[in-house]
């Protein structure tokens, strides 16, 4: 965001470096953004290698060990069924990541496609897509999730993922459309057109690569939103009851009345959600500052 105040003569002898190199350099200097990236990396590693890292089986019930306070064996204590909370948090990372990554992939595919088409072709198609985007943005999405999930009665993670993916595309479409509108005016796109490049080629090779930055930023923010929404739905009782996700851990502790005396059962899963969501938000911010993109808010 800040302007680099360099002396004029330094600017002149500066070596020519690629755009991505400067962006990378700027990002590496962005403290919060780097913090976010590191946390995201750790979370992904936990999610992938959960089987090797988790000290206990997250589903192993141990009624004699109920509500054990954090100690050396159970670093974060145990919950109302005697399950090790640390292990459940590590496995929970897996579900949180699977759900939110899938949600982002679905909504990104829909949103970017619609944004590209409406921004590039304009006219009637554009009118319809813009209207639909506005309509979807005015929809109280949380109410729709509740309606859909309770009516369709299949509480699997894929139902949740699908409905969230379908509802989250408007941000992608809006940003992509507005960027395409300005990109298609650029001289090199004109040049490509005059050389006889087809519409598909112009969109895929001339315009889409320039959207990489903003799409990554929105994806990061949407990841954060997806994690939070999934936990919220879980709390209402619309999550998948068979898996251990961070949301279901809080819900389980809350339902058993544990939060009153056994604080660790609610505190740690909530902290995990907060830190990972925070990381995705910080990463998105850092990337936006490094790329200096103003269209994404």
């Amino acid at each position: 965001m800040e302007n680099k105040k360099g002396n004029a003569h330094e600017k002149i002898i500066e070596k020519r470096v690629s755009y991505y190199y400067t962006v990378l350099k700027r990002f590496l200097k962005h403290g919060p953004g780097m913090f976010g990236l590191i946390v995201i990396m750790i979370t992904l590693l936990l999610a992938i290698f959960a089987d090797d890292i988790a000290p206990f089986d997250p589903y192993e019930l141990n009624p004699r060990n109920r509500f054990q306070a954090p100690d050396r064996v159970h670093l974060m204590g145990t919950d109302n069924l005697g399950c090790d909370i640390l292990s459940r948090i590590i496995y929970g990372a897996r579900y949180s990541m699977i759900i939110s990554i899938s949600v982002v992939i679905i909504s990104m595919t829909i949103g970017v496609t619609l944004g590209l088409i409406s921004g590039y072709y304009g006219g009637f198609v554009d009118e319809i897509v813009t209207r639909a985007t506005d309509a979807f943005m005015a929809v109280p999405s949380f109410f729709i999730y509740i309606t859909a999930l309770s009516m369709w009665d299949v509480r699997g993670i894929w139902t949740i993922t699908l409905i969230m993916g379908i509802m989250m595309w408007p941000t992608f479409a809006k940003v992509v459309r507005s960027e395409v509108l300005s990109l298609k005016q650029r001289p090199y796109v004109e040049a490509g057109k005059s050389m006889g490049a087809s519409d598909v080629r112009l969109i895929m090779r001339y315009i889409l690569p320039n959207l990489f930055g903003s799409i990554t930023i929105i994806s990061s923010f949407r990841m954060a939103a997806a994690i939070l929404t999934e936990t919220g739905l879980n709390f209402i009782g619309l999550g998948d009851p068979t898996i251990c996700s961070w949301g279901s851990m809080i819900t389980r502790a809350h339902r058993s009345g544990a939060q009153l005396t056994f604080w660790w059962a609610t505190l740690f899963p909530g902290l995990a959600i907060t830190i990972v969501t925070w990381a995705f938000n910080l990463f998105g911010d850092g990337l936006r500052d490094a790329l200096d993109i103003k269209t994404v808010t």
Binding site: W152, G232, F235, I236, T266, L267
Partner: protein, 312 residues
């Protein structure tokens, strides 16, 4: 202005169509939770047939939608399948509690967000600014219901300062306000991060304008530059935030009302959703969308009134 108003209708139609299809194409019927197992099977089938006829569920789905829509335009949202009472009565009885929670938390959030945002923009790049920025991102990242649970644990259970749940003027104004404190704070906190950040960005943008440079160049005192020249313009976009925040806060209130057993619309909605109460679900979705659209419209109009550069 009229054009702006007319754009509301397609959105409303789209929303109701979406919700209607979601509900009526879902497998199963609304009867799953209506009958108790004690009632004989024969009796149940007979009742079912009667209800299907009465509610028009045997008609094609598009006909049902048109019927619902034309009734809704006349202010009739049908009768709740579960309780048999008019949906409008059920919902409007609960809306005041939800709006009370929503507006008080919004006011609280704004009262904190505006000073924080302005200060951190004015001291751009300082430690304070960095702290506020990171904090607002973090406040944005916390699951509100979890914060609610922790607040209940600390303030209601451990310190015994505030009640854990419940509300209603029936228990006296003071007691009611006391039970409002926790849900209001938690809901406000969930929006605080976003608001602070937007206030900050808006002020930062204004501070780079030419007329601020001019004001400084002519030797105006810094606080005059900020209060007389920058803030008046910077806080205009904040007005739009109020409208946009309402959608977010209404969604958030579903969770907060559930945690704090707040007798509002959100909690009622969750309860009826679990019982497959078709008409109530349709009604609540319609009313919430209407509220959000109305808030956006009012925001646009206020904005145009406040800022003479904008005309619709």
């Amino acid at each position: 202005m009229i054009r702006r108003f007319l754009t509301l209708f397609p959105v409303l139609i789209a929303v109701t169509l979406l919700v209607f299809t979601l509900i009526h194409l879902a497998p199963g019927d609304p009867f799953a939770y209506i009958f108790s197992p004690q009632q004989g099977e024969e009796f149940q089938t007979e009742l079912k047939e009667m209800y299907i006829k009465k509610w028009g569920l045997d008609k094609p789905i598009w006909q049902q939608y048109i019927m619902w829509l034309s009734n809704a335009f006349r202010g009739d949202l049908g009768y709740s399948y579960m309780t048999g009472r008019p949906v409008t009565e059920l919902v409007f009885g609960r809306i005041p509690r939800t709006l009370e929670l929503a507006f008080s938390s919004l006011i609280l959030a704004l009262m904190m967000a505006i000073p924080l945002g302005v200060l951190s923009a004015v001291r751009h790049g300082s430690v304070f600014d960095r702290f506020v920025t990171s904090f607002s991102v973090m406040a944005n990242s916390m699951p509100s219901f979890w914060v609610g649970i922790i607040m209940i644990t600390i303030f209601a259970v451990e310190l015994r300062l505030l009640p854990t749940s419940g509300a209603g003027l029936g228990m006296g104004l003071l007691a009611h306000l006391k039970s409002l404190v926790l849900p209001m704070t938690v809901l406000g906190l969930s929006r605080l991060g976003m608001l602070t950040r937007m206030v900050r960005n808006s002020v930062l943008e204004i501070l780079n304008e030419d007329y601020i440079v001019t004001a400084r160049a002519k030797g105006l005192k810094e606080y005059l530059v900020i209060y007389k020249h920058a803030l008046r313009n910077a806080l205009l976009p904040v007005v739009t935030l109020i409208g946009l925040s309402l959608a977010f806060i209404l969604s958030g209130s579903v969770l907060i009302e559930t945690v704090f057993s707040w007798p509002g619309m959100g909690k009622f909605f969750v309860l009826q959703a679990n019982r497959r109460d078709y008409t109530t679900l349709m009604g609540v979705n319609l009313i919430v969308s209407l509220t959000i659209l109305a808030a956006m419209l009012v925001t646009d109009i206020t904005y145009a009134l406040l800022d003479p550069r904008i005309r619709y």
